[in-house]
Each structure stands twice: as structure tokens, then as C-alpha cells.
């Protein structure tokens, strides 16, 4: 197992005072709290910070940890000294707490619980929240997604280990960015026959080549030719449900929005697709093209900057 450098995790010196440790912990807890941080590894960092704090804030545990010596480096292969690192002491944790901590932590402080009256109680397992990236197409059509999760589990000997689980989860059609999907009973196992917790999947919409989602509405920038904008035209437009025809009104300008009612994400009511017009000029790389542009310049007498007074 890997040695954990708890001082490095909290960014404090080995001789830091208890006050310094507390300050460092509080600052990092705010920064990496999974509900606050947008870092992708916030959940894992937050756990590490809590584990480091659990050891360093308690003078007895800190002493036991310090007794390992200061020559260890984070990530180095660690073998606990015979008899355990802290065999002369008793440390108490709730099973839920122990499940949160690393193998390194358990090898030092034990994973055995000392059943008191409270520990015999049935307790519900922890809820877990996991972020999943979903493609817009899957969100639109719904479907089944395979999700791999490392979830805590009680082994036959009552110890808590972890197990890689692969869940086939149904993605409900019309799910949008930031929404959660609740899977009842799929979280951490309960204690003493308690019910398991729930698993919450938080949806992160993957960036799409063409579309972006604004809630249930879908936005699309649609390139059109200057004459399509000026004269009006019927053009093919991609939507998540397939290609549809869109009528561009004559005299359309860059940045104008056209609404394709009900062509956004499904729902009741469904969202719309908002088409944002982007006029693209054809390149003037041939003599023919150059001649056409010159003719327009001469015959249209158009100053797009008239309102600027220049």
C-alpha cells in the first residue's frame, strides 16, 4: 500500500502547531468541498484532506503517525511494522468513517470497531454522488449507460473494502445539465443490517460539435450565405431529432434568432431549438467572385458603418 504524507496533504510542516493544522484544514475543506469545488477530483481530494485532518488534529494519532519516522515519501510502498503501527492504543471510528479512509490509514489505526451500545444500532449506508458526462444525443433519446464505480462494501469478515461495480443505468430522455438521477439503494452498504444509501448521478453535459444546451433549449449557430439572408431561403437544419427544413425570412441579419418550436430537449413542454444566424461571406479567390463583389459594391451603395458616422 502507499504511504500517505498527511503533512503534505494539508500543506503544513511536520512541526506545525495544532492551530496551524486546523487553519490549513479549514481552508482546504472550503476549497475542495465537493459541493463547492468544480475541480473534477474534488471528491477524492476532500477525502484525503479529511483523512489527514483526522490523524493530525488528534495528538495521539499524530504521535502514532509521527512514530513511523520522517523518511517516508508520499506514494512510497509502505508495509506496516509488525503488530501494527499503533497496537498499544485503541482508536474508535464509526464504520462509516472507516469506510471513507485509505488502507494506509486502516493499517495504522485499525479497521476493527469496538462495538459499544451505539455501534450495534442499525444504520443506513452513506449516500454517494458521482458526476457523469452525458452526450447530448443520449440525453435527448434516453438510453442505457454503463457506469463504473468504486463503491465501499462489507466483506464476509465484516471489514469494509471496496468493489468495482459496473451499473447499467437508464438515462431518462430529456435530462439536462446539472440535474441529478437518484438510484435508490445503490450507495454504500448499511451497518448492522441497516439499509444501503442511495447513489446520485449528477449530469454533466459533454460539449457537442454543433449544439449547446440552455436548459431544455438547444442552441445552434447556422451558417448561411449572404443571398440566403437577403432574399430568404429554405435551408436544411440539423436538430437532435434529425434534419428539418427552416425558412429564413428575407432581410435576415447576422445574430438573429429563429425558433424551431418543440425541437429542443423532450419534456412537457419540450424545449425549442434556437437557430442563430451566422452570415458567411464566400471567399473572393477567383476572378468571378471578385467581379461579383465589385459589382455589388458599385451598385448597392451600402455603408454598414453609417450609424457610426464614419
Amino acid at each position: 500500500m502507499e504511504y500517505k504524507d498527511y503533512y503534505k496533504t494539508l500543506g503544513v510542516a511536520r512541526d506545525a502547531s495544532q492551530d496551524e493544522i486546523k487553519r490549513a484544514y479549514r481552508r482546504l475543506a472550503r476549497k475542495y468541498h465537493p459541493d463547492v469545488s468544480k475541480e473534477t477530483d474534488a471528491e477524492a481530494r476532500f477525502k484525503e484532506i479529511n483523512e489527514a485532518n483526522e490523524v493530525l488534529r488528534d495528538p495521539e494519532k499524530r504521535a502514532a503517525y509521527d512514530a513511523l519516522g520522517s523518511n517516508w515519501r508520499a506514494g512510497q510502498d509502505f508495509r506496516p511494522p509488525p503488530g501494527g503501527g499503533a497496537d498499544h492504543q485503541e482508536f474508535h471510528f464509526s464504520p462509516e468513517e472507516a469506510a471513507e479512509f485509505s488502507d494506509f490509514f486502516s493499517s495504522l489505526f485499525g479497521r476493527e470497531f469496538h462495538p459499544g451500545a451505539r455501534d450495534q444500532q442499525r444504520r443506513r449506508g452513506h449516500d454517494q454522488t458521482v458526476r457523469i458526462g452525458i452526450d447530448l444525443e443520449d440525453a435527448y433519446h434516453g438510453g442505457t449507460r454503463q457506469i463504473r464505480l468504486d463503491l465501499p462494501e462489507h466483506g464476509p469478515d465484516g471489514r469494509i473494502g471496496s468493489r468495482l461495480r459496473t451499473l447499467n443505468v437508464r438515462i431518462p430522455p430529456g435530462v439536462t445539465h446539472g440535474r441529478q438521477i437518484r438510484l435508490a439503494g445503490q450507495g454504500a452498504p448499511g451497518v448492522n443490517g441497516g439499509k444501503p444509501g442511495d447513489l446520485y448521478l449528477e449530469v454533466d453535459m459533454n460539449p457537442h460539435r454543433l449544439f449547446s444546451a440552455d436548459g431544455k433549449d438547444i442552441l445552434l449557430r447556422l451558417p448561411i450565405a449572404p443571398w440566403e439572408a437577403a432574399l430568404g431561403a429554405t435551408v436544411s437544419v440539423p436538430t437532435l431529432g434529425g434534419t428539418v427544413n427552416l425558412k429564413i425570412p428575407p432581410g435576415s441579419q447576422n445574430g438573429q434568432r429563429l425558433r424551431l418550436k418543440g425541437r429542443g430537449m423532450p419534456g412537457d413542454p419540450p424545449g425549442d431549438e434556437l437557430v442563430i444566424i451566422e452570415i458567411v461571406t464566400p471567399p473572393a479567390t477567383t476572378e468571378t467572385a471578385k467581379a461579383a463583389y465589385r459589382e455589388m459594391a458599385e451598385r448597392l451603395k451600402f455603408n454598414p458603418r453609417a450609424e457610426m458616422g464614419v
Binding site: V36, G178, L219
Partner: protein, 114 residues
């Protein structure tokens, strides 16, 4: 040890899903008293007037769970939690607007005038 499980149906927590006070309390691992205080603080906005009529939708469920975690992990008081939640939601909203606007601007093309 890997084990592939059969298809699991989840519940999408959106505006269409609603739960009562008892269910919300269970979902966020909190007490009825805490939830009532959160409603008084304006942190949660259920529909219905009396506590026994309250219904919380999927968005409120997420808010309540978040509030409970923030309160517990960062030792915030209730007004502090409400403020943190409001600011976090505003931040998320702004990030979302920024993402959408950046998409609308399209790929940045910039050229020096020749």
C-alpha cells in the same frame, strides 16, 4: 471483483418529482426540525402552506442535500449556508451563461489587418 449488474432505473430529480417533508428528511439524512428551519430561512421553497402540505421538487431535494452537507462539513450556520447556496447557484448559472455565450461566439478567428 467486477460484476455487471442488470439495468437499473433511476429517478430523474426534476420539477416533476415531488416529495413530502418526511421523505425529504430521509433523503437528506436530516431532521424535520432542520428542514423546517431551512424553510423559515427561505433556503428551501416548498409548495403548500402548512408543513403537512409541503411538497419539495427535485431541484429543492438537491438544494436540501447540499445544504445539509455544507452545514455539516464546513460547520456553517443556517444564514451562512443559505448565502453559500445562493452564491454557488449564481456562480453555476453564470458559468453556464458563459459556456453558452462562448459557444455562440464560435471559434475565435482573429487576424492582424494587412
Amino acid at each position: 471483483m467486477t460484476q455487471i449488474e442488470t439495468r437499473i432505473d433511476g429517478i430523474l430529480l426534476d420539477e416533476a418529482v415531488t416529495v413530502d417533508l418526511a421523505e425529504l428528511t430521509r433523503l437528506c439524512g436530516s431532521s424535520g426540525r432542520t428542514v423546517r428551519l431551512m424553510v423559515t430561512e427561505g433556503l428551501l421553497r416548498p409548495s403548500g402552506t402548512l408543513p403537512e402540505e409541503w411538497r419539495f421538487d427535485g431541484i429543492e431535494i438537491r438544494r436540501a442535500r447540499r445544504a445539509v452537507r455544507l452545514q455539516r462539513d464546513l460547520e456553517l450556520n443556517l444564514p451562512g449556508t443559505a448565502l453559500a447556496l445562493d452564491l454557488l447557484e449564481e456562480l453555476e448559472c453564470l458559468r453556464e451563461r458563459l459556456r453558452i455565450l462562448e459557444h455562440q461566439l464560435g471559434p475565435r478567428r482573429s487576424r492582424e489587418p494587412s
